[in-house]
Symmetry: C2
């Protein structure tokens, strides 16, 4: 018959298994980030190639494709190591696997997309949208990883990393859209609107990153931003976004714009690498700490340490502060003395309290992810039912928020509450 | 190299494993409920025994103890079958195990408690508090099971069951407190206050039960309530609660009160059994449905069904409704046609959407559990820092809610927000 102590050890073993899974997921996130980065470059070069009617960038694009193929092979190998045979990924496993299934379909379609670009069969806009969709699928894997993390600190780092990656993706889309606009040689109001939207979305993501990342990572980002590149970027943004509809744009600036954005993206990549490293280290540290705890528990069961008085269960906390309905929700038993001197019951109460606290911290971190889900769902609803583009849907909601003096997430909730009364989406 | 389809199957396998775990947990909840019921009777009889100075109820109590010992052995066997060796209970496993560790300490102390009662060493109040604590530990296991359920329908049933069990426990405490009060032969304002608090807490739990249970279970409860027992209970409640401080109470009513409450509790037990049955059936049905889905997927991989056009990945959803940043958050691809006629990609999107919807429904159900956690934590804080009893803390918060015209959960949030500025708890 199992003792209380054996379940104390079992609980710790669960924690360790979760952290190990998180470490595997973090490694997966790392490779995913590298492929996203590679595809962002490939998208940019494909755009330039299409914009030049196939006259330029063919070699650079070919080299980039080769690099992407290598990272893709690495990512597929990473997927293969995930234990899909057993159902060990209880919890959010189903959602992560479902995202991966989607990504694999996208990767399977990648070569066909590349052929379309090589044969100039698609417009830059079509090619961009295809890459955007594939990258969105990859980022959804990272989002799911952040949403499934069971440790609040790791979850916090994953939220920071996801938002940074998403911000970088908006930067990549800005690069593509700006390149195409410069290359077209003429200002276009709709495209300018799209650029402004991408800049705004980018800044929103970076704000969340600043909120959740370690201060050192934020410092690294701040330091890498304070450079001439940012000034040049803002100058080119001004040129792009303030030109009157139909006014000529300097086609030669296309390359300058691309280089400037690329520099920014490369710097973002350095910060991203740092975030990924922080993540892996946090997992390792936590696994080591949990292992040490477990060994201490096991040592305890090997010694003769026993409850001196079984009735201590009924005495440990003053009766007045023992909540009638719910142990573990109240205040903790304060830790004191050496570990071996404490009774097992105290360890049990301490562990229950720690798990409870962790769960509360996790809820706080996840709230930011939930807000994002609500906003995206509301946007999707507006797009489907009112035939709006993503930019238009976002703009509509932002306008509602300003008019009603409410937060964007509150507007999203109101939109979703209206879902039932909206007409069916025409097919 | 694994295909998208293999991850579709893997996601389904994860769902099945979660449901199987949930079925095991439901079986555990079932035995836990029976032990709670047995201990509630044992507590009542122990109180009567102590109240009669050991003159009466010794035999009934002995028989009840024997029954409890048998269910305890069953529950311990149930704990033993939980797979604590491997870490298969990823997710909320650590918290469930931690609750079980606590319960095992309580069960280890049970014989010592029984000796204290047999030797009349404890007052009825002390004995009641000891049983209350042990039962609270058992109910915390059920709460954790509800909180860890990954399926919204099962989670809903577990929330209904937990609240019903908790409501029944408040009824049991009411029985014990009322018995002791009648047996003492004299009205006591503090005990009367405690009774009113127990009645109110009981009704709050039953409201949540009505909100979350299947309509048939609610009907069963309503039907079993509409009886003479309820009228008799309310009459005795009135006699108990309205007597002036120090006024005499009819000692003979002690047995009538006990019988009346016991009848109510036995009827509650019948509803509880029905809820536990609903739960097991829901798990079975869902496992069967998920298995059928998985077999359909596997059949698909055995046939020659293939994507006719890899580029369909980029075409499936009109470009205007593909959210830039986040696939799967938007509107679903509507299901149409026979399963085998649909492409694998459509299945992938459908699954992602379904998982997303489930996760949203789950959040809604869990919100009720989170409110409970917040209220209990706030109560615990007030009890610890202001040296209040549970009833006093609850009354304080309810008063604040009425004065400020806010919901109890909002008051709880405000109390918790004050935690940092409250003085350290004296030790």
């Amino acid at each position: 018959m199992k003792s209380g102590l054996s379940f104390l050890v079992a609980a710790k073993r669960c924690e360790i298994a979760e952290l190990q899974q998180l470490a595997l997921t973090s490694a997966l996130v790392n490779v995913t980030g590298r492929l996203v980065h590679g595809l962002q470059r490939e998208r940019g070069l494909s755009n330039l190639h299409l914009g030049s009617q196939g006259a330029r960038f063919a070699d650079m694009r070919a080299r980039q494709i080769e690099e992407c193929r290598q990272i893709e092979a690495e990512l597929r190998a990473c997927f293969d190591t995930l234990d899909t045979g057993s159902a060990s990924r209880i919890g959010h496993g189903a959602r992560l696997f479902s995202r991966i299934a989607y990504v694999l379909h996208g990767l399977d379609a990648l070569e066909a997309l590349r052929e379309r670009v090589a044969s100039l069969a698609w417009t830059p806009r079509q090619a961009t949208e295809a890459y955007v969709r594939l990258i969105a699928g990859l980022l959804a894997v990272v989002f799911e990883a952040a949403d499934s993390a069971s440790d609040p600190e790791v979850s916090r780092l994953l939220v920071a990393l996801f938002n940074f990656m998403q911000g970088k993706e908006f930067t990549g889309q800005e690069r593509a859209a700006g390149s195409a606009l410069f290359a077209s040689g003429r200002a276009d109001a709709a495209e300018q609107q799209r650029l402004l939207h991408l800049i705004e979305s980018q800044e929103r993501c970076l704000q969340v990153f600043v909120e959740f990342a370690n201060p050192k990572a934020v410092d690294l980002w701040t330091a890498s931003q304070a450079s001439a590149t940012l000034a040049e970027l803002e100058r080119l943004r001004r040129v792009l976004c303030t030109a009157a509809q139909g006014a000529p744009l300097n086609v030669q600036l296309s390359q300058a714009w691309f280089d400037c954005c690329s520099q920014r993206i490369d710097r973002m990549k350095a910060v991203e690498d740092r975030l990924a490293l922080d993540l892996l280290r946090a997992c390792e540290d936590k696994i080591a700490a949990a292992r040490a705890d477990m060994e201490a528990y096991q040592a305890l069961s090997a010694t003769s340490a026993r409850e001196t008085d079984a009735l201590s269960f009924f005495k440990l906390v003053p009766a007045s502060s023992a909540p009638t309905g719910s142990p573990g929700f109240g205040t903790p038993v304060q830790a004191y003395g050496l570990q071996l001197e404490r009774s097992i019951l105290e360890l049990v109460q301490e562990q229950a309290h720690r798990l409870q606290t962790m769960s509360e911290e996790l809820d706080t971190v996840r709230a930011s992810l939930n807000e994002r889900k609500l906003i995206e769902r509301a946007k999707g609803l507006l797009m489907a039912h009112r035939q709006l583009s993503e930019e238009e849907a976002h703009k509509t909601m932002r306008q509602m928020a300003m008019n009603q003096n409410r937060r964007l997430v509150e507007v999203a909730e109101a939109v979703l509450a209206m879902a039932d009364v909206l007409p069916e989406r025409p097919r």
